[in-house]
């Protein structure tokens, strides 16, 4: 470890010491119309044919020898700008680009440098900008960030109604979802039908599936980095939409012109309102199935060198069958960030955030007989990140992070006939820390490297009971408690630490072809405990303890990236192999909800996932879109399950094909379609039956020993843009369009699962009749219309 850091450091000194005097050009790149900073814009020094791209805050910095230069700023969908610079001192150059997208019809598949696919260091990432997302036919016509990502290679879901998403064979709980750097524990509204991100407030979405830079950590499979808009700093703007299931409204504008701006965006569903007339009886007052969310952000330019951002999110789902009974859950996050330029080459970001995820559940018709359960995770975080733009060949990033978790797994009150019983579980505290160092280095025009290391640590802290378990004779059975100890407040019960090396390379074969490879190790200290078929909002998060070890994963990926037709056609092929340790699984009959002895019901095993991802994307033209195909396998091996043999996970999908196409028919109309084909996911099927006490009991050989039928679906949408010009020829301020969608056009009853049960009937032999039933969460096609406006 030490050796590695030393090598890194000595390498760095070498870079900074070499060469003659140099100066720096730095600044921000923004959108001219609303002042939003642009993430990933290219800044190119023409004379040197080298440059840089802007970071997530829109900042760039290039250090080169003195001279006369022509600097070009490029970003897809914007007119490029060239600036002449006489570089004999450090130059600050903030640039505003003008969008070419005055016609909404012109589709931009990704607003990034034209050849980013080939030229950027990154591999195994999936990125979509909001313009693209808005074009995709969506369930009930509501554009959705997470659903859109599922159209890209390597990203899957178990089915309709399942919360979250799976990346390269990882479970839902192995994704770190960051909203302006604060973690969101549950990314779904209404059981996964919608994600918590309001598209009106989202600026950029990036998913890391592999080759994860050292600055990110804490989950095995992926990092979903969602960046919110800062708000129009020049003019007031209103965005909104009225849809079939919910409405959206967003306001943004300057607080002080060119100094400070804000955005406030909200959504509220109204199925409950619409359902009201259909409820036959007034006794059902209080019945509700609704969600709302509110996203807000403000920022302030203190000086050229300092900018602060404050962002917040508040969302809640309510699922009730009368006024007192039901469950509800929600995320709250707040983050305060400070961007500071120490000088033209050192950019820093300091983040403080708070995330609060809770859910509660209550049943009982009277005060004398009720059951109420609240669960909560509070996360406090401090993060310090530095980018040091050493020279055109090296960009160093380093930083540190500390997270305090407070898990309150269950505050439970049971009342039976007026007598109370408090069965709450102890609060659990833990601290996760990390330091990281990484460098992006251009070795030659052809070869670039990114390498780094992250050292993470985790402390499981008191106070509370410490449980020790005996091993059972046969694995797969509930382990009995052998001893219970007590820990004092803040006493370290268990400490873990891991060294996570990260490495990736890019080799340009020619200007339109590159080969990229990566290796990364990830560790995960908090675990999502769920033994249901689909991930649910009520799933429990638990820290690593003296009994639960941190999960570890090693992944290697290799890819070929090639663009054709002057970057109009992008293609890539990537293969990956991933091995993971300490994967959590459960004994049969595990009680995971309110159980002090939960650890005794958990099993630990290893995982492996491998696959190939194919991607072809046509970026522009009247017909554009992409085809994504993934061939994959993901398996677990756990002692006590499936006789200790490998078995496929519930989200193992052999073939996964997604086709998305847009056709820009005219100024007024644009049509879109997407088609999905997925191999049926594994299910556990019975082999035999027997009767005991009159019940017909299924007998099983192995876990996930069969598959449900394949899933396929076609969705269509049409967007109708209203006139943008008044009858006298002057431009209208109001921009509006209608979106008509049909989800699941040919009404296929796609299987979610197959279950086996005895029916109420008896056979001729007097035995209960068994049958297999296939469940489809959506049994038909779903048409929808929504109206969207902006002024």
């Amino acid at each position: 470890m030490k050796k590695l850091i030393l090598t890194l450091l000595s390498g760095l000194f070498l870079f900074s010491a070499s060469g003659q005097e140099k100066f720096t050009i730095s600044g921000y790149v923004r959108d001219q119309s609303d002042g939003e900073t642009l993430i990933g814009a290219t800044v190119l020094i023409r004379e040197l044919s080298s440059g840089n791209i802007t970071n997530v805050y829109g900042f760039y910095s290039i250090t080169i020898p003195p001279g006369e230069y022509s600097v070009e700023y490029r970003y897809i969908g914007y007119q490029p700008i060239q600036k002449s610079v006489s570089l004999n001192q450090n130059v600050r150059l903030d640039v505003e680009l003008i969008s070419t997208e005055q016609k909404l019809q012109e589709v931009v598949v990704t607003a990034k440098p034209e050849d980013e696919n080939v030229s950027s260091m990154e591999m195994s990432t999936a990125e979509l900008d909001i313009t693209t997302i808005q074009k995709i036919p969506a369930f009930l016509g509501e554009v959705d960030v997470v659903k859109s990502l599922q159209l890209l290679p390597g990203v899957t879901t178990v089915g309709e109604g399942a919360s979250g998403f799976n990346v390269r064979g990882g479970s839902v709980g192995q994704n770190l979802i960051l909203l302006d750097e604060a973690p969101v524990y549950n990314s779904s509204h209404m059981f996964g039908f919608f994600s918590v991100f309001n598209p009106d407030a989202v600026k950029d979405v990036k998913l890391y599936k592999g080759g994860i830079p050292a600055e990110y950590g804490g989950r095995l499979s992926s990092i979903l980095d969602v960046r919110m808009k800062e708000g129009n700093i020049k003019n007031y703007e209103v965005n909104g939409g009225i849809g079939t299931i919910f409405s959206r409204f967003a306001v943004e504008g300057p607080i002080a012109r060119n100094k400070s701006s804000f955005i406030l965006a909200g959504r509220r569903s109204y199925i409950d309102v619409l359902a009201q007339p259909f409820l036959k009886n007034n006794d059902l007052d209080g019945v509700g199935l609704r969600f709302y969310d509110l996203t807000g952000k403000t920022n302030y330019y203190i000086s050229d060198k300092d900018r602060v951002y404050l962002s917040g999110y508040l969302g809640r789902d309510v699922f009730k069958f009368d006024a007192n009974q039901g469950f509800d859950w929600g995320n709250k996050t707040a983050s305060l960030r400070w961007n500071h330029l120490f000088n033209d080459r050192i950019f820093s970001n300091t983040t403080l955030f708070l995330s609060d995820y809770d859910y509660s559940f209550q049943v009982g018709e009277t005060k004398d007989d009720l059951f109420s359960w609240k669960s909560r995770i509070l996360t406090y975080n401090f993060k310090e990140q530095f980018s040091y733009f050493i020279n055109t060949s090296n960009e160093l990033s380093f930083g540190a992070e500390a997270i305090l978790y407070r898990f309150k797994p269950a505050e439970v009150l049971g009342v039976s006939d007026g007598e109370e019983s408090d069965i709450s579980l102890d609060e659990r505290k833990s601290v996760e820390t990390a330091i990281y160092l990484g460098n992006t280095q251009k070795i030659s025009d052809r070869l670039s490297l990114q390498y780094g290391v992250r050292l993470s640590g985790f402390q499981y802290l008191g106070e509370g009971s410490i449980y020790y378990y005996e091993d059972t004779e046969e694995k797969g059975e509930r382990r009995p408690v052998s001893d219970i100890g007590e820990a004092d407040n803040w006493e370290t019960i268990q400490f873990y630490s891991n060294l996570e090396p990260r490495f990736s390379f890019k080799y340009s074969v020619n200007p339109s072809t590159s080969i990229k490879g990566s290796y990364n190790r990830m560790s995960q200290y908090i675990h999502l405990v769920s033994n249901t078929t689909a991930s649910l909002p009520t799933d429990v998060w638990t820290p690593s303890t003296n009994n639960i070890k941190p999960q570890l994963a090693d992944q290697v990926a290799l890819g070929v990236f090639k663009n054709f037709l002057n970057n109009q056609l992008e293609t890539s092929i990537e293969v990956y192999y991933k091995e993971s340790q300490n994967q959590v699984d459960y004994i049969d009959g595990a009680e995971i909800l309110i159980n002090r002895f939960l650890e005794g019901d958990l099993l630990s095993g290893e995982g492996r996932a491998y696959g190939a991802e194919f991607f072809v994307k046509k970026n522009s033209g009247k017909i554009n879109g992409w085809i994504s195909y993934t061939l994959a396998r993901t398996e677990l091996k756990v002692e006590g399950i499936n006789e200790g043999n490998w078995y496929p996970t519930r989200f193992d999908q052999t073939h996964n094909l997604k086709v998305t196409a847009n056709y820009d028919w005219s100024e007024k109309w644009s049509l879109s379609a997407n088609f999905t084909f997925i191999t049926g996911t594994p299910n556990t099927l019975p082999s035999y039956r027997y009767e005991n006490q009159g019940y017909t009991i299924p007998g099983v050989l192995g876990r996930n020993n069969g598959r449900i039928p394949d899933y396929h679906r076609l969705d269509l949408s049409a967007t109708w843009y209203m006139r943008t010009i008044k009858s006298d020829g002057s431009p209208k301020k109001l921009r509006d369009h209608w979106v008509f969608t049909v989800y699941n056009v040919y009404a296929r009853r796609n299987p979610f699962s197959i279950y086996f049960a005895q029916t109420d009937d008896l056979s001729v032999a007097g035995q209960s009749v068994t049958q297999a039933n296939q469940v489809s969460i959506l049994g038909t096609f779903v048409p929808a219309v929504s109206y969207n406006f902006k002024f």
């Binding site: 409820l279 036959k280 009886n281 006794d283 699922f319 009974q325 049943v363 018709e365 007989d369 269950a410 049971g414 039976s416 006939d417 007598e419 019983s421 069965i423 059975e477 033994n531 249901t532 078929t533 689909a534 009520t538 049969d588 009959g589 009680e591 309110i594 159980n595 002090r596 299910n683 099927l685 019975p686 082999s687 035999y688 039956r689 027997y690 009767e691 005991n692 006490q693 009159g694 009991i697 299924p698 007998g699 099983v700 050989l701 069969g706 009853r749 979610f752 699962s753 279950y755 005895q758 109420d760 056979s763 032999a765 035995q767 049958q771 039933n773 296939q774 469940v775 969460i777 049994g779």
Partner: protein, 308 residues
């Protein structure tokens, strides 16, 4: 606990749909199934032995014949011989007049010899608390039941100390509520271990689960004046509780949206042990003390719902 989630999901209804499908299943050779649930009563005790069969086989199971079946009181070494006079795989022990099977606090061993194999099992007989009373609650009609209706509740208290387990059986006008979704079991006064609800009156969902709640709407009142209701409280061993808990989980597979909450299908654990490791066996052996109460619904036992 999960039961509660089910209630919610059912109450909310579903927009999803179910279709019966044909699906090929892997087959396996048949092996012994033991259905041996004995009670500390003066009734004839039955042990049924037969063989497993393919999951979709709805014919009668093949009986296991010519078995030697004996239950032994470990403390007194008294043997109870079970015999199958009519060759149907049902082995019985008939008590003499006034005789009761077993003694509270004693352990029992089961030994079965059949087809050249020997199977063994053990169980403990513990006391059941008395049922204090049964009441019928009056309710105004609602979205699910189209008339004013009554549901029943039994009142009993869990014995002190954690880890007492029970099986509540209900008989309405002599018909046993025997569907898998009507399995009504308790861990102390609540649903499960780890979240003990010790030594309380059984919690409401357990108290009221003796009612045959309608599964389709609109429905009529589950009880009317003059209906006979018998409730039995079986004090079963903890392993038997876990077996039934698992049976319920594996057999009550809710349709539609509730499938989101389903666990992967798995085997229900048997406490029958073959002396030869290569032999498979399923089923369960349990001995239980039973307390019971039988009432006729009348103005005497009808109560109004406790107001909020």
């Amino acid at each position: 606990m999960k039961k509660l989630l089910f209630l919610l999901v059912i109450a909310l209804g579903t927009s999803s749909c179910d279709d019966e499908v044909d699906i090929p299943l892997k087959d396996t050779t048949p092996f012994l199934n033991v259905d041996a649930w004995l009670t500390h009563t003066g009734e004839t005790q039955e042990i049924v032995l037969n063989y497993t069969r393919p999951y979709f086989d709805n014919g009668a199971p093949e009986p296991a014949l010519e078995a030697e079946v004996v239950v032994i009181d470990i403390e007194t070494e008294t043997p109870y011989f079970f015999t199958d006079e009519d060759d149907d795989g049902t082995y019985i022990w008939v008590p003499a007049d006034g005789e009761v099977f077993g003694q509270l606090g004693h352990s029992y061993g089961l030994q079965i010899s059949v087809d050249g194999n020997v199977y063994q099992s053990f169980s403990m007989l513990t006391a059941a608390p008395p049922i204090d009373s049964i009441t019928f609650e009056y309710n105004k009609k609602d979205a699910f039941i189209e008339e004013d209706y009554y549901y029943a509740e039994f009142w009993a208290r869990d014995f002190e100390g954690p880890g007492n387990t029970y099986w509540v059986k209900s008989f309405v006008n002599d018909s046993y509520l025997g569907k898998p979704e009507q399995i009504n079991i308790a861990y102390d006064a609540g649903f499960s271990a780890g979240g003990e609800v010790d030594s309380l009156i059984f919690i409401q969902p357990i108290r009221t689960a003796i009612t045959p709640f309608p599964t389709e709407t609109p429905a009529v009142s589950p009880f009317k004046r003059g209906d006979k209701l018998r409730v039995e409280l079986h004090a079963i061993p903890i392993e038997a509780w876990f077996f039934l808990y698992r049976v319920q989980d594996e057999t009550v597979r809710q349709p539609g949206f509730a499938q989101l909450f389903a666990n992967p299908l798995a085997n229900s654990p048997s406490n029958i042990v073959p002396t030869n490791d290569d032999v498979s066996v399923v089923g369960f052996f349990s001995v239980a003390d039973v307390s019971a109460l039988e009432v006729i619904m009348s103005d005497e036992n009808i109560v109004d719902r406790v107001p909020d």
